[in-house]
């Protein structure tokens, strides 16, 4: 089973995770820039983070045979902090980089005017740079947030078939499907979706434009949830081709819209320089 996790925050994960992901079939990931759990107080802090997503993290991933791309943006939470909003002005010079395959995560957190501004501005940046957009849907007041998100997308210059709406669930999947956007589902141990509910959603809505991700980060989450959904789909009678569409071909098709996806990059995980891992420089 080949797996492309289209949304995972590897910066927060360990090399054990990379190893386990490779063993489970993960060969490609996209890491969206997001909130780090701790508020940042200046744009420079974002730039260091973006640099890590364009340098160190792809290197770490390559050591484990996994292709790493990223999406960059000012996230919805910190769009509300005036100390961070100058990030919007600096984004253009980052969006031209080779491994940036979308603008994201953008969207709503608390549905404030500042979030309206950042969302609209960044949808325009995506259109200007020939990039698709990864749009996070809010955790609170989700359905209303989804409708407002879709309205903003309709008013933007980015066509819905270049937008991935993420963190969907049973209450939002219908409106999201009707919008013409791609459909993202995050599988979590306690919150968001779980494997069995995901199987039920795919039974009802098909595999068409569905992407499944672990969205694993610094919270309680599991980077192997993609594989677990694949296993659950097979157990429920879906074919290997169905699973391949959801876990590989759909993410490749969506992020391939950028024209920048390179899946031939990593070598096989080479044996580490014995007992003196390349990854830590022996320190």
């Amino acid at each position: 089973m080949r797996i492309f996790d289209p949304h995972i925050h590897m910066t927060s994960r360990t090399t054990d995770d990379y190893e386990a992901m490779y063993a489970a079939g993960v060969r490609a990931v996209v890491e969206p820039s997001f909130w780090l759990g701790q508020p940042r107080t200046s744009p420079a802090s974002f730039f260091d983070y973006f640099d890590a997503l364009l340098g160190w993290e792809p290197f770490r991933a390559s050591q484990y045979g996994i292709a790493h791309h990223c999406t960059l943006a000012l996230n919805p939470k910190e769009a509300n902090d005036s100390r961070c909003t100058p990030v919007l002005d600096a984004l253009p010079r980052y969006l031209v980089k080779d491994s940036v395959v979308a603008v994201g995560e953008i969207g709503y957190d608390s549905m404030t005017p500042a979030e309206d501004t950042a969302l609209a501005a960044q949808l325009q940046l995506a259109a200007d740079h020939g990039l698709p957009a990864l749009v996070h849907t809010p955790h609170r007041d989700k359905l209303a947030g989804l409708h407002r998100t879709i309205d903003v997308i309709r008013e933007s210059n980015l066509p819905p078939d270049r937008v991935l709406l993420d963190h969907l669930n049973e209450t939002t999947v219908k409106a999201a499907t009707d919008s013409g956007c791609w459909l993202g589902f995050s599988i979590y141990p306690d919150t968001k979706m779980d494997e069995d509910r995901m199987v039920a959603v795919i039974k009802d809505h098909g595999t068409g434009k569905v992407l499944v991700n672990s969205a694993a980060d610094w919270g309680k989450s599991d980077p192997l949830k993609t594989r677990k959904v694949g296993d659950a789909l097979l157990a429920a009678g879906f074919t290997e081709d169905d699973v391949d569409q959801v876990l590989w071909r759909n993410p490749v098709a969506f992020y391939g819209l950028s024209g920048r996806l390179r899946l031939d990059v990593p070598d096989a995980p080479e044996p580490l320089h014995e007992g003196n891992s390349i990854l830590r420089g022996g320190e």
Partner: protein, 285 residues
């Protein structure tokens, strides 16, 4: 092959070798990008000449990226998606990357060095634009790992414009602080050989051994390691530490140790050849 070329060959030879490996479309992209870079260099030179006779020039913070970026800088950023090995692009449409080599055969080596091609294109761009210290510093500090690597590889080609001599050394030092082996390998080129002091250079050698960067990547190794008894001591200590931990000693360590025992041509031959080699020098030759 291209890596070696990137590391010091004349730009014309580098361009010829690169073009040989590119598809027609990518070659056209390269020609246009180089023309844009040369035009930028011309425009800057003309501006400098015009200002030379005029009043005191305004200080410009060139370390700050402007938007929109000059076209050639966008080409510098996007080189990785325009420099694919010709054989691959002939077989596969890059817009539909649906047949990843990794999924089918995870043990197959990577396709013929796409990274080398992008390195070469970026080095040529930096040379064409005559990137000075401000420009190289800005591109490095705003760059992806691949772009930083290209700046490091280009430094030997830019010594006439990155003045005063050795002033780009902070970029090399930055790269040597990372644990990204692509950057470490690019940092130990001719520019480092020429400008790193002996203490920093020894640590660079040790860093390569620590992180698995082949000793062959270190420019001027045999010349600089000669008769370096302090480097020999560091290597022996490292070997002892590995041995105490029950871990193998990198083969390259023995090779470098042998080099340190060679006499310094400037000194009397028998005064420096007494470096004691505890590891077996015949193990790797």
């Amino acid at each position: 092959m291209l890596t070696e070329l990137t590391n010091g060959a004349p730009p014309s030879a580098l361009q010829a070798a690169l073009e040989e490996q590119l598809s027609g479309a990518d070659r056209a992209w390269l020609h246009e990008a180089l023309a844009e870079a040369e035009a930028e260099a011309e425009a800057e030179a003309a501006e400098a000449r015009a200002k030379a006779g005029a009043e005191v020039p305004e200080p410009v913070d060139r370390n700050r990226a402007q938007w929109p970026l000059p076209t050639w800088e966008i080409r510098f950023a996007e080189a990785g998606r325009h420099c694919h090995p010709a054989r691959r692009t002939a077989q596969e449409d890059p817009s539909t990357p649906s047949t990843p080599a990794t999924a089918a055969a995870p043990c197959t080596p990577a396709a013929p060095d796409a990274q080398d091609l992008a390195d070469a294109a970026r080095v040529l761009l930096l040379h064409a634009v005559r990137a000075d210290l401000d420009t190289t510093t800005r591109l490095y500090s705003h760059g992806t790992a691949a772009e930083r690597r290209a700046v490091l590889l280009a430094l030997p080609h830019l010594s006439a414009v990155t003045t005063p001599a050795g002033s780009a050394l902070p970029l090399v030092e930055d790269a040597l602080r990372t644990n990204d082996t692509r950057l470490v390998a690019a940092a130990v080129g001719p520019y480092a050989t020429q400008h790193l002091d002996q203490h920093a250079w020894r640590h660079a050698v040790l860093k390569c051994l620590f992180t698995g960067v082949p000793a062959d990547a270190i420019d001027g190794l045999s010349r600089r390691a000669r008769a370096d008894s302090e480097l020999a001591r560091m290597l022996r200590d490292y070997a002892a530490e590995r041995t105490a931990a029950g871990r193998p000693v990198p083969d390259d360590l023995h090779r470098v140790l042998v080099l340190t025992a060679l006499p310094d041509p400037a000194a009397r031959p028998d005064t420096t050849a007494r470096v004691e080699i505890t590891a077996d020098p015949t193990e790797e030759s």
